[in-house]
């Protein structure tokens, strides 16, 4: 597809085009949210394709997804573009809210609190409220790639990539990422739920909308 071809890993295109050219070339001028939604749809389709292809390594995955996110990042204007390591996206904030901490996402501790599965919905709402006040952790593509390579394992005291215990390095990496997701996903999901619910545009009745103009 033209999609992958038009965005090279270093982000500038093969002819030394700037980001705006890349964007224009893809013919997806921002003409409204529907357009952006369609664009994001493409991006997600690509991500699913990558997933289906059972990529050989995480870094390949990150690379593929990274180039896909490129134009998105330009559009959002939230990236400090750099061509270091051949990736235009060095410090990409993958979640879009302002409330980010930029703490290194692999070095945090992981509290283990479990909620009983038959919790009532009011309890659930309370939990969601609580979690929506926590900060989301932004993850750079680079950090994802490096943790996929096991470069962050030492931060959990799990030993370096060359430890002697029985566990395979790949397993450790997997568990490390899973632990991170276990902590991070509820926070992000809670942010989504609360923002959707709190938005007067989305939740109130038609009359309220009209008076708001």
């Amino acid at each position: 597809m033209g999609w992958a071809e038009s965005v090279s890993p270093n982000g500038m295109g093969r002819n030394g085009m700037g980001p705006n050219d890349v964007w224009a070339q893809m013919g997806r001028a921002q003409t409204g949210w529907a357009e952006s939604a369609g664009y994001l749809c493409n991006c997600q389709i690509m991500m699913i394709l990558v997933r289906k292809a059972k990529t050989a390594s995480t870094s390949t995955l990150v690379e593929a997804v990274g180039s896909g996110l490129l134009a998105l990042v330009y559009k959002g204007g939230c990236s400090r573009a750099t061509t270091r390591h051949g990736y235009i996206i060095h410090r990409t904030v993958i979640c879009s809210d302002e409330s980010h901490s930029t703490t290194n996402f692999m070095s945090r501790s992981y509290p283990s609190r479990c909620m009983s599965s038959n919790a009532s919905s009011s309890q659930l709402n309370k939990e969601i409220d609580l979690y929506s006040k926590k900060k989301q952790t932004s993850v750079s593509l680079r950090a994802l790639m490096e943790s996929g390579q096991g470069l962050h394992l030492y931060k959990l005291g799990m030993g370096g990539a060359s430890s002697e215990d029985g566990m395979k390095v790949a397993e450790k990496i997997l568990i490390q990422i899973a632990c991170f997701l276990h902590r991070e996903l509820p926070v992000r999901v809670a942010h989504r739920a609360v923002k959707l619910e709190a938005s007067p545009l989305f939740m109130k009745s038609g009359t309220a909308l009209q008076s708001e103009g």
Partner: protein, 122 residues
């Protein structure tokens, strides 16, 4: 092709009557997923990790139709405020919220996608 896609969406959306039921649906998915993620034990070893991966997979599946559902919801919204397509698309507030929503969604999906292919590698 995209126009056809959007037209098809509009058709299905016009059959909906309850106000903004689609967006409320999306919201309830998030709540369900939240509960599911919270009740899952910390993936500290291989078995728990596999369990967690299953949870992520089911969350991923649950939200797979978010895009279409949100589009339906936006259409509903447009009908309620009775704006034409152009002025609706120009509405800054709606743009901002939808942008934020989709960016966040793609972020969530991206980080959770990382763990799924890795399971099959180990």
């Amino acid at each position: 092709m995209r126009v056809v896609f959007m037209l098809k969406l509009s058709d299905t959306a016009s059959t909906m009557h309850a106000p903004l039921v689609n967006i409320q649906n999306v919201c309830s998915w998030y709540k369900t997923s939240f509960g599911q993620l919270r009740s899952c034990p910390v993936p500290s070893d291989r078995e728990k990790e596999e369990l967690f991966a299953k949870v992520i997979e089911s969350v991923y599946e649950r939200h797979s139709s978010t895009l279409i559902t949100m589009a339906k919801g936006a259409h509903e919204l447009r009908n309620i405020v009775k704006q034409d397509v152009a002025s609706f698309a120009d509405s800054n507030d709606i743009q901002k919220r939808l942008d934020e929503f989709y960016m966040s969604r793609i972020g969530i999906r991206m980080v959770s996608t990382i763990v799924l292919p890795m399971i099959r590698l180990v």
